[in-house]
């Protein structure tokens, strides 16, 4: 609607409208307090008790809801048992054995060697070494039992997540109405903080590993559904036609044509499920997963840096091994089958059986081959704790000075400003931005979600979240964009930078929290540091992607016109990379919000803290409402920036390519 007038009207009226809106907002801020006090502090009577409603609903589900033959509570108990049985089996194999029958668990030697074998199958000797070394590292630092406990729940959660995501994705691909219904749910799932649904899961399934697996599934499955949908939609039309021309039935079409043709993308989805499941390890331990996550959480609570670091690194080792092996597996190409006897055709199966047999026999002969001996363990925990103490003692003043300067000069003023804003004014301003960027629908969405946040009575916490997120994102962009510009312009620099940010992305988010806490103790500043460290990755990545994606002919043209390097960068490359960089900003905000909730552990006063408190009190209503508020903030930011990026793209005439990229 506003676009129609765009070419003729030019830039001036558009700028004027923004200016007028900002002026109005400022006037309202200055004198509105007396005119409309309700716009600044929500009157008590207006607050809607969403939390009580949800809490009541969950209680009703547990106590009274009946699904005909059985009650809802019986249904969740049935699900628990269904998940619990295979988990107990895997756990016995990896951790406990069957003491009653005198059967020990799988010897550590067998696990290390099998990991190496899987690595070799996926990527030859380098990966075999990496995988075996990762597990050896875990044993070396004495985290074996914890790691196997974690592995047991991953082993259950990952296949279920992949199968469930694939199944739902295929169903949604077949039935467009299901895809339309799923998309907003998936959007919400990806922005709602994990803690928020830990609470209902905890209430429905009780404290324990099964709950943890359920929460992991809820967290890790949505991307698989999305990737499945996307991958199936991208199967070339000719391949679909081929399937129909050779007369495939529907099942043949799905399993013989579509899924194999989409295999590469689907394997990426599987990799995502693995990484997200590992990401959940620590959070899931809050509702009883145990294992490495519990170790980290405990260390964090005791502020035992060394122990936390070791357990955290063990998770990283697990993550790196699983990530690299699964990625290499995704890249495997089928080989021609050879006519050969059975053992020669299945060398890896034979090798695995041989390893198992050898490890079990060795474990009978020597006790060290059964469980990793105490004497061989290494602990650097004390060392790291001492280093931290040392740093804190020596550099305390300097660290404290940095922290105070930033807090007083940047963070607190922003916080004061945001907390003083009237909710009605913010809603109006966001609605105006939505209208200018994307039309009435976006305006209605942005305005309505803002008002909803206000109506929950969590406005102050929400604005604290916005302030922490905003400051962190600003710093992340200030660091990420220049690093991206540097890396994009230099061919030798990008590969190492990419390796670093890929690794950063495989780290569980908690790992970022620990050094920050150790150096700066709890508080907003610490939270911000952890968020920046986590959220800087997409800022760098998208900047590089955008700059490298600029058509080289345009750069050549610029050079032919006699532009200097700086001019080419400013006038051509950055200009054209703007849409990508905006998407990077979008991702940075999403990353920051998801990390922000976790930083509730270090004592922020935002929505994350509300969710965390709700978790400790098992208050499903309060937890979900606060979680949804975070999701709303994410959705508003996401939609506004997407609309801005789309406009930027349209102005540059990149609309079609952009539509593909997004």
């Amino acid at each position: 609607m506003s676009d129609a007038a765009l070419p003729a009207a030019g830039a001036r009226p558009r700028g004027l409208a923004w200016l007028a809106a900002a002026a109005l907002f400022a006037l309202f801020l200055a004198w509105g307090q007396d005119l409309a006090p309700w716009a600044f502090a929500l009157p008590r009577g207006w607050q809607v008790p969403f939390a009580d409603w949800i809490g009541g609903f969950v209680r009703w589900l547990l106590d009274d809801a009946s699904l005909g033959l059985f009650t809802f509570a019986e249904f969740t108990r049935f699900l628990s048992a269904l998940l619990g049985a295979p988990y107990a089996l895997v756990r016995a194999v990896l951790v406990e054995g069957w003491p009653a029958a005198g059967i020990p668990p799988l010897p550590w030697t067998a696990v290390v060697a099998l990991a190496g074998l899987l690595g070799h199958r996926a990527g030859g000797w380098p990966l075999a070494l990496l995988a075996a070394a990762s597990f050896l590292f875990i044993a070396l630092f004495g985290r074996w039992e914890s790691a196997m406990l974690t592995l047991a729940s991953i082993v259950i959660a990952v296949p279920l997540g992949i199968a469930g995501g694939l199944g739902l994705g295929i169903l949604a691909h077949r039935r467009p109405w299901l895809a339309r219904a799923l998309t907003p749910v998936l959007d919400l799932m990806q922005t709602i903080p994990v803690f928020a649904y830990l609470v209902p899961v905890l209430i429905l399934f009780g404290f324990g590993p099964v709950s943890a697996i359920v929460a992991t599934l809820i967290y890790a499955m949505p991307p698989m559904i999305r990737i499945t949908l996307l991958a199936l939609a991208r199967v070339p039309g000719e391949i679909v036609d081929l399937g129909r021309m050779v007369g495939c039935t529907r099942a043949q079409m799905t399993w013989r044509v579509m899924v194999p043709a989409a295999k590469d993308a689907l394997m990426l989805g599987a990799n995502q499920v693995i990484m997200l499941s590992l990401n959940m390890v620590i959070i899931a331990s809050m509702i009883g997963a145990g294992g490495l996550g519990f170790d980290v959480l405990q260390a964090l609570r005791r502020l035992d840096f060394g122990a936390g670091l070791e357990a955290g690194l063990a998770i990283v080792a697990l993550a790196v091994a699983m990530d690299r092996v699964s990625q290499a597996w995704a890249g495997l190409r089928p080989e021609a089958p050879r006519a050969a006897p059975w053992p020669a055709r299945h060398p890896y199966l034979v090798a695995a059986l041989a390893i198992l047999a050898a490890a079990v026999v060795a474990a009978q002969l020597w006790p060290w081959a059964q469980s990793y001996p105490q004497a061989w363990r290494l602990s650097t925990g004390d060392f790291w704790s001492r280093v931290m103490r040392e740093i804190n003692v020596t550099y305390f003043d300097r660290l404290e000075a940095i922290k105070t300067t930033l807090l007083v000069n940047v963070m607190l003023p922003v916080k004061r400003l945001l907390l003083g804003l009237p909710w009605a004014g913010v809603a109006a301003l966001l609605a105006f931005a939505g209208w200018r960027l994307g039309g009435w629908r976006l305006a209605a969405l942005a305005g309505a979600l803002t008002v909803l946040i206000a109506l929950t009575g969590l406005w102050e916490q929400a604005m604290t979240t916005v302030y922490l997120c905003g400051v962190s994102v600003a710093f992340a962009m200030l660091i990420g964009v220049p690093v991206g510009i540097l890396a994009a312009g230099r061919d030798w620099l990008w590969p190492p930078v990419r390796a670093v940010i890929d690794t950063l992305q495989t780290l569980p988010s908690f790992v970022y929290l620990m050094p920050a806490v150790m150096l700066f103790r709890v508080g907003d500043f610490t939270a911000m540091l952890a968020v920046v460290a986590y959220a800087v990755v997409p800022a760098i990545r998208y900047t590089v992607l955008g700059l490298r994606g600029v058509d080289p002919r345009l750069i050549e043209a610029g050079r032919a016109m006699g532009c200097t390097r700086g001019q080419i960068l400013r006038r051509i490359r950055l200009r054209l990379a703007l849409p990508e960089i905006l998407l990077g900003l979008n991702q940075t905000i999403m990353f920051a919000l998801s990390m922000l909730v976790i930083t509730a552990l270090v004592g922020t006063r935002d929505l994350g803290q509300e969710v965390y408190i709700a978790l400790t009190k098992a208050n499903a209503g309060a937890g979900l409402v606060a979680g949804l508020c975070v999701a709303f903030i994410a959705i508003i930011a996401d939609r506004l920036i997407q609309a801005a990026a789309a406009r930027a793209r349209a102005r540059l005439g990149l609309a079609e390519e952009g539509a593909h990229g997004a």
Binding site: D241, L242, V246, G247, P260, A261, A336
Partner: protein, 342 residues
């Protein structure tokens, strides 16, 4: 119109329409039978195929030629009912495909139709042998039998020895040979080729066209061949239909189209075509008068094929029909006029 191969009509397409857009069927029924392009656009619909009538005869190569966006790919997909036409009739061996049930359609596609795709559409996870055997596997044929038949097809297209290779290890031309072998594996009667050689380099394209003609001389399939390349159409076709904006501009033998383009649009294509390579002696001969010439050539030969005889000094060449009877004379002057006038 008499084609070069005048078999019975195997595939008939009557007044077929395909409109894309919401509720296109109801709109066409209300505004039919032949709405103007402006009316279609005004209704917010896109016309891909407009009132097409075609007859493909048994054993002939029927080429549908058109530039991109002319609706030729949509039309061929309508013929195989991969796309549901908005209106019209498609008769295959006398029965209307559009009234066939899904199960019947599956049976017909499995046993009577084969298709070759522009970008090959090979399944990347299957070897050459498995790709070619795929249609048979889908039909539920046992491994030994289907692999035996697939091997035969692979040998037929000249890829024997590459059965174990994967599509990614083959060149474009080789990949399309696999696509051809696969489309023939189920021994279909009706063979659709959707721009099969468009993605290939010019030299390979030429080689594949020869290969295709060789196969057809052996197999005598009923063929619908789609292309955007007019030279390819002239070279391969028994009959051609030229499409523009979803409708057929002209259909006929290559000779008819080159000699008598029906519209300026068709004339654009034919202008650059050397007449001598298309025109057959039967079209330029005169009644046999005077002494019988020393040399004679069949009426189906092209003028270009007759040119060497005149180069060797002949003034008049005799033209014979299929039975070898003299049916006309061809003068040097007529040949020179045609070659220089083209």
């Amino acid at each position: 119109m008499e084609g070069a191969t005048g078999g019975p009509a195997r595939l008939v397409c009557r007044n077929v329409w395909k409109l894309f857009g919401p509720r296109a069927g109801a709109w066409l029924a209300a505004n039919g039978p032949a709405p103007a392009p402006e009316a279609i656009a005004a209704a917010g619909l896109v016309a891909a195929v407009r009132g097409v009538n075609l007859e493909v005869r048994a054993g002939e190569i029927f080429v549908i030629m058109g530039l991109s966006g002319s609706g030729k790919s949509t039309l061929v997909r309508c013929l195989a009912r991969l796309i549901e036409p908005t209106a019209g009739e498609i008769l295959f061996e006398g029965r209307d495909l559009l009234s066939a049930s899904e199960a019947e359609m599956t049976r017909i596609r499995r046993h009577k139709m084969g298709m070759v795709f522009q970008h090959f559409a090979l399944l990347p996870h299957l070897s050459v042998l498995e790709n070619v055997a795929f249609p048979l596997e889908i039909q539920g044929m046992g491994r030994a039998e289907r692999e035996e038949r697939a091997r035969r097809m692979i040998a037929l297209v000249g890829l024997a020895g590459r059965e174990g290779a994967f599509p990614r290890q083959l060149s474009g031309g080789q990949q399309q040979r696999v696509g051809i072998a696969r489309s023939l594996a189920a021994e279909p009667e009706l063979w659709f080729l959707d721009e099969p050689f468009s993605a290939l380099d010019p030299l390979i394209r030429r080689e594949m066209q020869d290969e295709f003609l060789r196969l057809q001389r052996m197999l005598h399939k009923t063929i619908v061949f789609i292309t955007h390349d007019f030279d390819e159409a002239i070279r391969l076709a028994d009959r051609i239909a030229i499409m523009k904006d979803g409708a057929v501009e002209q259909s006929g033998t290559p000779e008819q189209i080159v000699l008598l383009p029906a519209t300026p649009y068709v004339a654009e294509f034919t202008r650059a075509v050397p007449r001598a390579k298309v025109v057959r002696l039967g079209s330029v001969m005169r009644p046999p008068e005077g002494p019988a010439p020393a040399r004679s050539l069949p009426a189906t030969a092209t003028v270009a094929e007759a040119a060497p005889a005149f180069l060797e000094g002949a003034e008049v060449v005799g033209v014979t029909d299929a039975a070898g009877r003299l049916v006309g004379h061809l003068d040097r002057r007529a040949v020179v006029d045609l070659m220089l006038g083209g």
